[in-house]
Symmetry: C2
Subunit: 222 residues, 2 copies
DNA sequence: GAGCTGCCTTGACCTAGATCAAGCACTAAT
DNA sequence: ATTAGTGCTTGATCTAGGTCAAGGCAGCTC
């Protein structure tokens, strides 16, 4: 368990002594595809670290449509903030694929933050990072065309994995479309056009970027 | 200065002893309407508390259009997270009206967080709150009609100021439209229609809610 | 290998809201 | 009083992307 915990950025610099009480209180959870982990407004008894697979965090509109807010992949944590502050979950969470999580009781987090100064700092850093992500999302959601959104989304992958030119989408296309604030049809059409223009190529659910500069062009042009 | 500082939620429970070093290092800043306080990517040497007036935080698109991300009013702080983590500012900030701020050096914040446990907690709480706000924004930006956005925006005021039925808009209509991801024209048309339907009434830049239930209806209907 | 089932694509249409273009109301300066 | 500036409204178009509907294409199970 310690090994798994240390896989997360939140915990990677911790000593065994720091980690022991957290590890002792946590437990491993396995979810089948589609399993609902918690609902919006549920009390937050745990926060979670994704060991394997991925989770989708979403909300429901009054009419019952789903809007995907975040897709959480391996190594990332979620619901830390609400757990710490003892607030109800602000979103629904369900498994996008068969997924393994570590569930860490909120109380343990609260206790540890008081004891371990570094943990508080790390939490602040992690929240701050998340806020930056949201700023970007807000920015693109509100004034980008479909093409810009898709180009930006694909480029985000290249940035983190350096000179890899091939991308495996982390969820179904419909999910990604929702994340981007698009209809699945529109997402499909945009990808088609990019293929047509020779900017990308698709094989199975792998996407190959033929020209990242052309893609940047598309992202930055109205 | 101490008095002003304690006006902010971030500091309201602090003892004089806690506050003294912060107060000593901070200084008061007055901005004329439209003054640019910092740019995106500037190093974050201070974070800020709004004493009087209001600030707009925004970004620029590649084509140079502005997108308002947040409007910060009296009593609120901004740029705490980046100051703490010593990252560059992620947005532009300029004064929406003649505005007074307290500028608190980032270094002081970093020092104090290490010393004062409660401050770290408060910061976590404040960031978490901000994240919740962003979740809402993302939600509405991506799948609400213009009418839903405006109704939701107005209702947000009623929620915080209880049974006040009259709202003074915190910025020009064009700014608010941008915050909501709308064109000024569209914002204006939506308000007109609401007046036509007898849901609201407008006088100067005061908005009177005639029927908050009708407004809720509008917010929750596609 | 026949038939499901779930994803994805493609086409035809339609509508919300952006854009373009005047004009109006109020304020501030000359 | 006249002009000019700024924010707001209103009307007339245009268009990106949403919606509806019809297949196509795996990968399953039986």
């Amino acid at each position: 368990m310690e090994v798994l915990l240390r896989g997360a950025p939140l915990f990677n610099s911790f000593t065994d002594a720091d980690l022991a009480p957290i590890s002792a209180a946590s437990r491993l959870v396995s979810l089948k595809l589609g399993t609902l982990l918690f609902r919006e407004r549920d009390p937050s008894q745990h926060f979670f670290l994704v060991i394997k697979g991925s989770m989708r965090l979403y909300r429901l509109t009054p009419e019952g449509k789903e809007k995907v807010i975040e897709i959480i992949s391996q190594g990332q944590t979620f619901a830390e903030a609400v757990a710490l502050l003892n607030k109800p979950y602000p979103v629904y969470a369900s498994a996008l694929e068969p997924t393994e999580l570590i569930a860490i009781p909120s109380q343990v987090l609260r206790d540890q933050v008081l004891v371990n100064q570094e943990l508080a700092f790390k939490m602040l850093a992690s929240l701050s990072l998340r806020i930056h992500g949201f700023l970007n999302d807000i920015h693109t959601l509100s004034l980008a065309t479909a093409q810009q959104k898709v180009a930006g989304y694909l480029l985000a992958f290249l940035e983190q994995s350096e000179d890899e030119q091939t991308i495996r989408l982390p969820a179904t296309k419909a999910m990604i479309a929702s994340r981007l604030g698009l209809q699945p049809e529109t997402f499909s059409r945009v990808l088609s056009k990019m293929k047509e223009q020779g900017v990308i190529q698709e094989d199975k659910n792998q996407i190959l970027i033929l020209s990242s500069s052309a893609l940047k062009q598309l992202r930055d042009t109205a």
